[in-house]
């Protein structure tokens, strides 16, 4: 792997940047691997990277039906934070946030992590109580969290109107200063490049169409580019997880829904933090290009179409203007959708499956981008050792049988 540096940048400027090497090899699938990861989103690529780096397992392929990072990784609004309520989630997301903080150096690629602070607004008494409780819970878990008064909110984000006569008055907010946003593509590319450098094959345009199981054990995969034998397989397919589980003969408590996002025309810097409001249902930040980046709600029906209904976007614009009337004449440029895998308790599933040697990492739903490094870290551990890492042990598939759910609907920060 050619390391990027200021010197390399200057050197490559000499021929107008025409000789940069490809980030990863265009690998053709081999007949057999020790471990195969299905899905080259951020989570799958991070898993492959940590399998190689932390566990020395490099006989690995990552299979992707489309292009790398073209799933939810490349479609999300990139909000990163770790201020979840319950201990299980707090520890998992905080581990991820700590990895984010060193990720550009680790991957030798700028993932443009911008810790600009994430505000979660409170608009009613219940929001206030819930927010204060969450701040306390976060602090007990060593996570930075602050409760801001309306005046402090105004100081932190001047375009928020804190007039108490508004329909949804701002009564305060939680603030996680270490939260922020990152460049989604760069995360996928960075993990892909670093995994490739350690010998991992990244195979694009290779859809898994069947899972071979013999005597309850995984033996390989059927793909659009031929059969591949594998000793261990990790499924990291987000919205398509139920389809893959079905190929292996088990069911998941997961439903697939479209989740849409949109960007405005670029404007001058006006919003230098992330603002989220559950009651009004807004999450918005401003990109480095100047566009406002906003997420909408999920469509209520099941879908694999990567597009949602227009009324959801309309509703989102109404919510944005309720919070920020200043944006009333802003034009929207693009909308798009991803297919999110929603779990009944709004927490992911990371661990073993009923099939030996087959592992699953799914159910991140509307909020898994922030967890990308941590998810890859613990899933690599689970695959390499056959046992969950202490951080993902509570997120097992059989919690739906035991009843040990991790209900994070509140900390989803906007209700989906």
């Amino acid at each position: 792997m050619q390391r990027f540096s200021f010197f390399q940048l200057a050197l490559n400027a000499l021929d107008r940047h025409r000789s940069w090497p490809a980030f990863w090899r265009a690998a053709a699938p081999r007949e057999s691997y020790d471990t195969v990861i299905v899905g080259a989103g951020g989570h799958g690529l991070a898993t492959a990277y940590y399998l190689a780096k932390n566990h020395g397992i490099t006989d690995v392929a990552v299979l992707e039906k489309g292009w790398l990072g073209g799933g939810n990784t490349g479609r999300n609004t990139t909000i990163i934070r770790s201020n979840y309520l319950w201990d299980e989630s707090a520890h998992l997301y905080e581990h991820a946030l700590k990895l984010w903080e060193g990720l550009s150096t680790e991957l030798n690629l700028n993932v443009m992590l911008s810790q600009r602070g994430v505000l979660n607004l409170a608009h009613n008494l219940h929001d206030v109580r819930e927010g204060v409780r969450r701040v306390q819970a976060n602090r007990l878990n060593g996570i930075d969290a602050e409760w801001l008064s309306p005046e402090q909110v105004k100081e932190f984000c001047p375009i928020i109107d804190i007039d108490a006569r508004r329909r949804h008055p701002v009564l305060g907010a939680t603030l996680q200063r270490r939260g922020g946003v990152a460049r989604h593509d760069a995360v996928a590319w960075g993990y892909a490049r670093a995994a490739d450098a350690r010998g991992v094959d990244i195979v694009q345009n290779c859809e898994v169409t069947g899972i071979d199981v013999e005597n309850g054990r995984i033996t390989g995969l059927q793909t659009t580019r031929g059969a591949i034998r594998a000793r261990r397989v990790g499924l990291v397919a987000a919205g398509h997880s139920s389809v893959l589980a079905g190929m292996a003969g088990f069911r998941l408590p997961v439903q697939s829904h479209p989740l849409q996002a949109l960007v405005s025309e670029p404007i001058k810097p006006i919003l230098d933090c992330v603002v989220m409001s559950n009651a009004v249902h807004v999450y918005v930040s401003q990109s480095d290009k100047g566009e406002l980046v906003m997420g909408a709600g999920i469509d209520a029906f099941n879908s694999y179409a990567q597009r949602g209904s227009f009324h959801v976007i309309e509703h989102q614009m109404g919510a944005l203007l309720e919070l920020f009337p200043i944006f009333s004449r802003l034009r929207m440029m693009r909308t798009w959708g991803g297919i999110v895998d929603v779990c009944p308790d709004a927490s992911p599933i990371i661990g073993r499956t009923p099939v030996d040697g087959l592992f699953i990492n799914c159910g991140w739903g509307t909020g898994g981008f922030k967890a990308t490094p941590g998810s890859g870290w613990v899933f690599a551990h689970t695959i390499a050792t056959g046992e969950p890492h202490p951080l993902n042990a509570p997120f097992r598939l059989d919690r739906f049988t035991s009843g040990a759910l991790i209900d994070e609907h509140g900390a989803a920060a906007v209700a989906h």
């Binding site: 139920s242 389809v243 998941l252 408590p253 439903q255 029906f301 099941n302 179409a305 209904s309 739906f400």
Partner: protein, 96 residues
């Protein structure tokens, strides 16, 4: 945006309706006899097909009645609408 054919009111905009998820899930006849696994399956496991699906809808801003649709989860095409209690129709392409 879907145009949903309510069996009682005819085609109406999606915004008048609420989605109720997978159809034809019967409450267990003898709940006390269920194992943990069976309870988990009844409460949490739902089909999530990429293709045709039978699902429940509620005409919330209309006649306020429940009914079922056969809808494709990739094309969003609607093949049938039928009242609750009616036997599940075959999925398109499936033998009757």
């Amino acid at each position: 945006m879907l145009l949903i054919p309510c069996p009682w009111c005819g085609r109406r905009e999606e915004t008048e309706f609420a989605n109720g998820g997978e159809a034809h899930i019967a409450r267990p006849a003898d709940p006390a006899a269920l194992s943990q696994e069976e309870w988990a399956a009844y409460v949490f496991l739902r089909d999530n097909p990429k293709g045709w699906m039978r699902e429940r809808w509620f005409h919330a801003h209309g006649c306020r009645r429940w009914f079922n649709l056969v809808r494709h989860t990739v094309t969003h095409e609607i093949a049938a609408a039928y009242p609750p209690g009616a036997p599940p129709p075959p999925l398109p392409g499936e033998a009757a």
